[in-house]
């Protein structure tokens, strides 16, 4: 039995349909990340799971039980909010134990659960403080503690790291990963940050305009993007996308260069079809001694050293290309440089439907 089953969930606001039939089935212990840009419907879906918004159609089941119409407190869920949403006048201790207090859990049992959770999150020394006396990172830990203490079937996280600075975000991300590995809890996590999605998820649902563009493991989403949108959204810098047309020799890019197609793609696209060719920046490397069938002659326009890598941006046949290279690579602005990539790194999308080919 699935821990969480989302069946054909729809949500409309007047004439606007924000969720257009979402289907996801989650096994116990899975970490699902709903990934997408603002307005894609990911937070709406989370709020529907939590019971903070009503679905216009479909069903949601937790542990086999339909929870639509059930009060949020009776859904066996806990939620962590972007703004932490701590009760400002209650101590950290009471904040963490609030859900148990409202459920009339005996004081002794409550105390034990709060202490256990505080120890797990290493916030025992903060229990007597008020939220106003805590830093952002500490507040986030308390918010996570408030969710953990109840041991619900499903945890919901609504962009929990968005308000933290970059360093703390990374630390908390690792902490969340550690907690998930340790406790094996089922989590639905909303974010627009693809790094968070890639690092935390066991499965990612990339959402766009109220639909799921792709649902798969981080590797599947990264290595085999189902649509051009997913290819562009996951990965930083985003995948290079070059317009072209299929010919007998491969893909002729708009502007001249021809890129040979690997065997796996040769038979799936007919000559004359307009396509978009995708290559991840990190898949590009400088052309070596050996001749290659996949060469991009790039006129370098910008060179940026980020520390761990050198990000090079230029143009091939008038189309923009970005490459991530080792930091010591000797390249300067204005140079012409040939880049190549492995055939496995080549992605092909239909220019019209934007769906992956092959």
């Amino acid at each position: 039995m699935s821990a969480l089953e989302i069946q054909n969930i729809r949500k409309t606001y007047g004439a606007v349909e924000t969720l257009k039939g979402i289907d996801i089935s989650l096994e116990s212990g899975e970490f699902l990340v709903l990934l997408g840009s603002s307005g894609c419907g990911k937070s709406t879906l989370l709020n529907i799971i939590a019971g903070l918004a009503e679905a216009s159609g479909g069903d949601i089941r937790i542990g086999g039980r339909s929870i639509l119409g059930v009060h949020p407190k009776d859904r066996d869920i806990a939620m962590v909010f972007q703004s932490y949403a701590l009760y400002p006048n209650l101590s950290v201790h009471r904040n963490i134990g609030f859900g148990l207090e409202m459920r009339k859990v005996p004081a002794a049992e409550r105390e034990r659960a709060v202490q256990e959770t505080a120890k797990l999150l290493q916030i025992e020394n903060l229990l007597d403080r008020k939220p106003g006396q805590l830093s952002g990172g500490q507040r986030q830990r308390v918010a996570i503690g408030r969710a953990l203490v109840r041991k619900p079937q499903v945890f919901l996280f609504d962009e929990p790291l968005s308000n933290l600075d970059a360093k703390l975000r990374m630390e908390t991300r690792t902490e969340l990963k550690r907690l998930h590995q340790m406790l094996g809890t089922t989590i639905v996590y909303v974010t627009h940050d693809q790094i968070e999605a890639m690092t935390l998820a066991t499965r990612i649902a990339v959402m766009r305009n109220g639909r799921i563009e792709q649902l798969g493991t981080p590797e599947e989403v990264y290595d085999h993007p189902a649509t051009l949108y997913v290819a562009g959204f996951v990965g930083s810098p985003p995948m290079n996308v070059l317009d072209g047309v299929v010919t007998g020799e491969g893909v002729q890019l708009d502007g001249g260069a021809v890129i040979a197609l690997p065997v796996r793609l040769k038979n799936v696209v007919a000559a004359g079809r307009r396509v978009k060719l995708g290559v991840r920046p990190e898949a590009l490397r400088l052309v070596g001694e050996t001749a290659d069938h996949r060469v991009l002659d790039v006129e370098i326009e910008v060179v940026e050293l980020t520390g761990p890598e050198l990000v090079v941006t230029g143009r091939v046949s008038g189309q923009r290309v970005t490459a991530c290279l080792p930091p010591r690579t000797k390249l300067t602005v204005g140079m012409k440089q040939a880049f190549t990539f492995d055939e496995d790194a080549l992605h092909l999308f239909d220019a019209e439907t934007e769906l992956a080919l092959g």
Binding site: P72, K73, A78, Q82, Y84, A85, P88, N89, M102
Partner: protein, 294 residues
């Protein structure tokens, strides 16, 4: 610009206002203090110096003590009722429902109307011959015969408190409503997920955000209620049998009706002092509330 010249400039800029304030507040206050130590009448002699006689007589007189009790009852009951009604109205008007905006606008009406209009309106409602209250109560069977609500010592003060509440609860509601808008949606949502019922939600989620603004409303309204004059003067003039006489009415009667300017001045200063003590106590309360919410 140096610190000294900045200070000089600041004083120069404030000087005109200070002069006006000294002329319209400082001088009359000083004059009143001087007057309170005399047996001056409103018309005629400027009076002889009598020391603290006026104060002793006022404070030991049963008139003052009875009036102080009446004023305290009026202030405590009306302000308490206004706070409760105001918060309830704000909670209601914070819900999503059709016509909410219109209702929010209408609610301010009693407060926006001049007190004289309000008082006249309530005099009509309480009228012993054709008042709406008598008509309504007799028609639903709660009253056998028409009563003179403002004419009986047992009901006049209560009737005044109702009128004062009706006029002033919208101010509290307005302040509370503004505070309610500041309650973060996420915290309300978190309390729902945590299983807090309506009372727990009010106690732990809403009240912390309401407390500060409500203390300000409490300060404003208590001081106003303690000084109340206009609504009572229009409706009962302190009667019947002085049952609705508050301190401000007593000051007026002493100084103008009985023309005892010296005694009236001492009474006015005592009232001023009482209000100042109240204001100071509340200032401390406001600071504490602000501190606890920080």
């Amino acid at each position: 610009m140096t610190g000294t010249s900045m200070t000089t400039r600041a004083w120069l800029l404030m000087l005109p206002l200070l002069a006006v304030m000294i002329a319209v507040i400082g001088w009359p206050l000083a004059d009143t203090i001087g007057l309170s130590f005399t047996d001056a009448k409103l018309v005629g002699t400027s009076g002889n110096f009598v020391g603290i006689d006026n104060y002793v007589k006022t404070l030991s007189g049963s008139n003052f003590q009875r009036t102080l009790v009446t004023t305290t009852i009026f202030a405590v009951v009306s302000v308490f009722a206004e706070m409760v009604l105001g918060v309830l109205a704000a909670l209601l008007l914070n819900q999503q429902f059709y016509g909410r905006t219109v209702l929010r606008g209408l609610m301010i009406l009693p407060w926006a109307l001049p007190t004289v209009v309000n008082a006249t309106l309530w005099r009509l409602i309480y009228n012993p011959e054709y008042g709406a209250l008598n008509a309504a109560l007799t028609q639903i069977g709660l009253l056998d015969a028409y009563r003179s609500w403002l004419g009986e010592p047992g009901t006049a003060l209560a009737a005044l408190i109702v009128a004062d509440c009706w006029k002033n609860f919208p101010l509290v509601a307005l302040i509370a409503l503004a505070a309610l808008q500041a309650v973060p949606r996420d915290i309300t949502a978190a309390s729902l997920v945590d299983g807090a019922g309506p009372f727990a939600r009010f106690r732990f989620v809403i009240l912390p955000y309401l407390a500060g603004p409500l203390v300000v409303a409490l300060v404003l309204r208590t001081i106003e209620a303690f000084k109340v004059f206009d609504i009572i003067w229009v409706m009962t003039r302190g009667g019947p049998a002085n049952s609705t006489r508050t301190l401000s009415i007593l000051v007026y009667q002493e100084a103008f009706s009985f023309q005892r300017a010296g005694s009236g001045a001492s009474l006015a200063l005592i009232v001023t002092l009482l209000v100042a003590v109240l204001a100071a106590a509340y200032a401390v309360l406001v600071r504490r509330t602000a501190g606890s919410n920080a």
